[in-house]
């Protein structure tokens, strides 16, 4: 049995994202959409796994904006729907979101944003909570796994109560952590979709779904927010725990609540410090806050990443200062807590300990001294492309082409596993100096290419993954072609959204529901734009290098090279080796002139290691993926391959 469908009252270990998915199922979800992005992907993935049994429609959408639009259509037709994305996905969806909030919704519509404080799997530490305030949308933040489920379920009810979209915010340490969850009933009835639009313009339930008349609808929405506030005042998800009159009141939300609780037990301060855990963080319920802020003179706000809660609490506290008195606030503004990066129990304990003048316990000094000695021996373990990764081969080719061309060309990077190419010890071979958001590599490249008149005369390249291509690259590519920007655009097509775990995308003939669908061919799209297109296998070092060097030398506008090779971790490759590869020690030159360890020192496949005693390269068969690329780079033909098990 799929554990997402566990029976009523059973206790199940759920990933935070699975708890969100279960909550949606308990709420009677009909449509779920999303764009993959760590740490959000498992919500849609797990729902897709039960779609047939629960009669759901689940899709991986081309990007977050479209995901929200598809979900909104379901809501407009009276169904409950959910759109799921990572933090920066909300930025992508935000233009539609602004107008959606103005038009209102019908069936419960929940926007789930899984955010990544500390950027564990992101290239930004973005916060989407400010969208809640800016776009005037209720915001919920679960603090544990049970709440992740229960709050999600409630979010749908709330959305239907106010007939507008509700945002649920999770973070990596919630989405990707697991814990016990007690399940409730799954509904047995499902709704029928019905879209009405003949009613009066101001009636969002029967009239047209539009944002006009703007000011009138805006006013209406603000009235609804008052209802939200009132509901939040009574919400059981907001809780105070601790002594009636604590020496310090900690106001917190999300997984930070667990850190605070842990910190208090580390410091032995459970009887001195109180915790106000808020699950409804925008709009804040003023009376609830007034009651609790009164308890203490000192108030610490603990949250990730920006001081969103701190600001909003302070605004309320200043308005009620006459009644509750003037408080001393601690948090991000005064530096009690770091203004960037994720938190953990230790950081929180130091902050609380600092205010309360208590030190967390540590092991004896002699132990710490030994730890220090041991730490000096531990080499860093940097991220790198996997053994057999097509990106390593692709960047090897790119680096060669840039060197051969001789004009110091460079690559504008994009978001995917290949983003690692921007890091120095990873294996982009120092070719990729820019990295921003989805699709922006191509936009930047098009810009750089127009600067030759100002003296920047270097060949410009952009890379993107297959999934990124559909998400946001196409407009930038059209822009480059239209404005005759001379760029070499490389699609690193590894047949799936590898970084987030192989979700299908429009280039593949399969949908999230495993149905057969027509694949949208990248080459055809590029040709349609009018670009020159070639397709190659990055493992074919000579062939790929040749195309690239020719492209760089060729004047023109957009030249596209699609490098096609499946990810080493893809289901069809995992555990199988195309080749059995080993090093012939007699031929290996090692660190002598004539090679100087090209494979281990420069190429850097994690499976090709250096035996420093024998001064020879060795293939670690356990790690080797059997791609055979190293065979073609060894100058001595010392790396040999035999047919593998594929």
């Amino acid at each position: 049995m799929n554990k997402l469908l566990s029976p009523d009252k059973s206790t199940v270990l759920f990933l935070g994202n699975e708890a969100i998915a279960r909550g949606a199922l308990e709420a009677g979800l009909a449509v779920a959409t999303g764009y993959p992005g760590t740490p959000s992907s498992e919500v849609i993935e797990s729902l897709a796994g039960v779609a047939a049994r629960r009669n759901l429609y689940v899709e991986w959408s081309v990007n977050e904006k479209v995901a929200l639009e598809v979900a909104a259509a379901a809501s407009f037709s009276g169904l409950r729907a959910m759109a799921v994305m990572k933090q920066n996905g909300v930025n992508v969806a935000s233009d539609f979101l602004l107008h959606l909030i103005a038009s209102g919704t019908r069936g419960g519509l929940v926007l789930v944003s899984c955010e990544d404080p500390g950027a564990l799997s992101s290239v930004n530490e973005g916060e989407s909570r400010y969208f809640a305030r800016m776009l005037e949308m209720p915001l919920l933040e679960p603090a544990d796994f049970q709440e992740a489920k229960d709050l999600t379920k409630w979010a749908f009810e709330l959305s239907e109560e106010i007939r507008n979209v509700v945002m649920l915010r999770s973070v990596t340490r919630m989405s990707h952590a697991s814990g016990n969850v007690v399940c409730a009933k799954l509904p047995t009835k499902s709704r029928r979709a019905k879209f009405e639009y003949d009613g009066p313009v101001m009636d969002s339930q029967t009239g047209p779904m539009i944002s006009t008349p703007v000011v009138a609808k805006h006013r209406l929405h603000q009235e609804k927010l008052k209802t939200v506030e009132a509901l939040f005042e009574k919400s059981p998800f907001n809780r105070y725990s601790g002594p009636a009159k604590p020496k310090l009141l900690v106001v917190t939300s999300s997984v930070c609540f667990l850190y605070v609780r842990e910190a208090l037990s580390m410091l032995g301060l459970e009887r001195d410090v109180g915790i106000l855990k808020l699950a409804t963080t925008w709009p804040l319920p003023p009376r609830l806050l007034e009651r609790n802020l009164q308890r203490a003179e000192k108030i610490l706000v603990v949250e990730e990443v920006l001081p969103f809660l701190e600001e909003n609490v302070k605004v309320l506290a200043s308005a009620m200062a006459g009644r509750i008195g003037v408080k001393t606030f601690f948090g991000k503004y005064d530096g009690t807590l770091p203004a960037a990066g994720e938190l953990n129990p230790d950081i929180v304990a130091r902050a609380i300990g600092g205010i309360m003048k208590v030190k967390p316990k540590t092991p004896p000094a002699s132990y710490l001294a030994e730890v220090k000695k041991a730490a000096a021996l531990i080499p860093a373990r940097e991220q790198t492309f996997c053994a057999g990764c097509p990106h390593r081969a692709s960047f090897w080719n790119i680096r060669r082409a840039i060197a051969l061309d001789g004009r110091e060309g460079f690559v504008c990077g994009d978001i995917g596993c290949y983003s690692m190419a921007a890091l120095s010890p990873a294996t982009g071979y120092n070719t990729m100096p820019t990295l921003h958001s989805m699709g922006s590599g191509t936009g930047l490249a098009g810009g750089f290419a127009k600067l030759s008149a100002f003296g920047l005369d270097k060949p410009v390249m952009a890379v993107c993954g297959d999934s990124t291509f559909y998400h946001a690259v196409i407009p930038a590519l059209i822009n480059a072609q239209h404005n005759r920007a001379d760029i070499t655009f490389i699609v690193l097509d590894n047949a799936g959204t590898a970084m987030t775990g192989f979700q299908p995308h429009p280039g593949l003939p399969v949908s999230a529901l495993k149905e057969t669908v027509p694949a949208v061919d990248i080459a055809c799209v590029c040709r349609g734009i009018g670009a020159k297109v070639a397709v190659a296998d990055p493992f074919d070092i000579d062939g790929t290098s040749k195309i690239l060097t020719d492209y760089l030398a060729e004047k023109g506008s957009v030249k596209v090279l699609i490098l096609r090779q499946a990810c080493a971790l893809s289901p069809e490759k995992k555990g199988k080796k195309t080749f059995n590869v080993r090093v012939n020690e007699e031929l290996c030159l090692g660190d002598a002139c004539g090679c100087n360890r090209l494979c281990t020192r420069v190429f850097r496949c994690p499976a090709l290691t250096w035996d420093s005693a024998r001064k020879k390269a060795v293939v670690d068969e356990v790690i080797c993926a059997g791609c055979g690329v190293c065979v073609s780079i060894c100058p001595q033909n010392a790396i040999v391959k035999a047919q593998g098990n594929m």
Binding site: P39, Y259, P360, K361
Partner: protein
């Protein structure tokens, strides 16, 4: 060997290198413990950090309460490492004089070591540091056992078997068999049980215990 039963929270860190089956191992352990009535919290990092980087799962086994998904510094009771260097790395942040370590012997060299810029401590030095920094420590050739059984990926199950035998966590063979039935296809079960038993047998050999107080 004393048997630990968590009256209060037991903190276990499962560590290794991306791709070693860390996540699967922590889910199997947690699944057994949830069924046994504990409140379990796992904190893990995956995504980008999986790509050749260090990976860690924090497993918190509590009789009653959800815990922070991140264990506080110096707070590990048990460290299970699929890669020895990672055990040492975790000891440096979460170690304490009472911690127990169970580590695989097989190194996975970091890229900096492969390129020659960094050095990798010898097995002797790693063993010495385990003895200095842990109350008990075992090192077993789990990868080799996995390879012998036909797939190096089984090393994580070998480690789980070994962990069962150390008695550091409240689970046994029967619970393991029941747990993997939930997730693994039937044809994989007997091989996984073999790997589990292999791990148990390895712990019974005196030589693998570096220190057992």
């Amino acid at each position: 060997m004393k048997k630990r039963k968590p009256a209060k929270t037991l903190n276990l860190i499962l560590t290794g290198v991306g791709g070693q089956g860390n996540v699967m191992a922590s889910r199997v352990l947690a699944g057994m413990l949830v069924d046994a009535g504990y409140v379990v919290t796992i904190g893990e990092t995956f995504g980008m950090s999986q790509r050749g980087g260090s990976v860690m799962s924090h497993l918190r086994v509590s009789p009653d309460e959800v815990k922070s998904p991140q264990i506080p510094a110096w707070g590990a009771d048990v460290i299970v490492a699929l890669e020895p260097l990672e055990a040492l790395r975790v000891l440096g942040v979460y170690g304490n004089p009472d911690v127990c370590v169970l580590s695989n012997t097989r190194p996975v060299y970091p890229i900096g070591v492969i390129t020659g810029e960094l050095g990798y401590p010898s097995r002797e030095i790693i063993m010495e540091k385990f003895s200095l920094l842990a109350a008990s420590a075992w090192m077993i050739d789990a990868t080799d056992a996995g390879v012998r059984l036909g797939n190096p990926v089984l090393s994580n199950i070998v480690m789980i078997g070994a962990l069962a035998e150390t008695g550091l966590l409240p689970f046994n063979r029967g619970m393991f068999a029941k747990e993997i039935k939930k997730t693994l296809p039937p044809d994989k079960l007997s091989l996984n049980m073999k790997a589990f038993d292999e791990g148990r047998a390895m712990i019974r050999q005196e030589s693998v215990a570096l220190k057992n107080l």
